[in-house]
């Protein structure tokens, strides 16, 4: 691990220290938890993208089409009223 001061006696003393290691089972649990969270965050933007795509492709034309239908219906009603059909 040492990259410099290799012949420094103090550094040698420190590098001889027993490296402390976490409990294996604990490390695995943390790793699994983090993996799951990372995978979830990876999938959630994809899901959000799909929803956004559906909204853009379906919902927007439906709303615009709805307004067009209302407009045409209002136009037809007004025309018929002017012609005296609705009396």
């Amino acid at each position: 691990m040492m990259s410099h001061d290799a012949h420094d006696p103090i550094v040698e003393e420190l590098t001889r220290l027993q490296p402390l290691a976490p409990e294996h089972g604990w490390s695995d649990r943390v790793r699994t938890r983090c993996r799951t969270q990372l995978s979830r965050s990876r999938n959630s933007p994809a899901r959000a993208g799909i929803i956004a795509g559906i909204t853009r492709r379906v919902a927007a034309p439906v709303v615009v089409g709805g307004f067009c239908l209302l407009y045409i219906a209002a136009l037809v009603t007004t025309t018929l009223r002017l012609r005296g059909v609705f009396h």
Binding site: S3, I10, L14, Q18, P22, W26, V30, R31
Partner: protein, 195 residues
């Protein structure tokens, strides 16, 4: 870690690749634990802080810069978390001590880590390292134990490379002095009297 591989891992982490996380975890988990355990002198605290460090990586994975150095990034997060822990602990201790006035102060004997060291020399070195002021301890841990460059350690601690070099030098001197004291306390006292 090879820089090209590191950049590749950063890129994969940014896309949320769990296998990239595994590789980073395998490479740094032991080192980060050793750093945090030696810094806090407590296994439970080291575990909590390490878990939080990994969770921070997961949360920030998408926002990592493409040229991120993973080692310094992780050590910076770990160090910040330890500093926050120390601040909250200090606040807690001062409140409780103020209220009951019976709170034990000072360091309670050798830590379990010191007891773990196999030889007498290792035990002495661990005890002396644990007794150093926090700033000196982290400087020695980052530069001497972890083998980071002075500039990298300086970035982690938020100081200049020159200041870090000076800190390491002072830490080394204090470590050597205390180690000599523990090796032959009578002789050290005699030396102090004669000089």
């Amino acid at each position: 870690m090879d820089r090209a591989l590191e950049l590749q891992l950063v890129e994969r982490l940014r896309t949320g690749d769990p296998d990239a996380f595994d590789t980073v975890h395998n490479a740094f988990n032991g080192r980060l634990y050793n750093f945090l355990a030696r810094l806090s002198n407590r296994r439970d605290v080291a575990e909590d802080l390490l878990e939080e460090t990994w969770l921070r990586l997961v949360v920030h994975a998408r926002r990592l810069r493409p040229d991120t150095h993973l080692g310094p990034w992780l050590f910076t997060v770990a160090r910040h978390l330890h500093a926050s822990y120390c601040r909250s602990r200090l606040l807690e201790d001062s409140h409780v001590a103020g209220m009951i006035g019976l709170w034990p102060s000072g360091r309670p004997g050798p830590s379990p880590f010191e007891a773990l060291e196999t030889s007498n020399a290792q035990r002495r070195a661990a005890t002396v390292l644990a007794s150093l002021p926090l700033a000196y301890r982290e400087a020695l841990l980052l530069v001497a134990v972890e083998g980071l460059r002075h500039s990298e350690a300086a970035e982690i601690c938020g100081i200049t490379a020159g200041a870090m070099r000076q800190r390491v030098s002072r830490a080394r001197a204090l470590f050597a002095r205390r180690l000599a004291d523990t090796a032959a306390p009578g002789l050290a006292r005699l030396n102090e009297r004669t000089t």
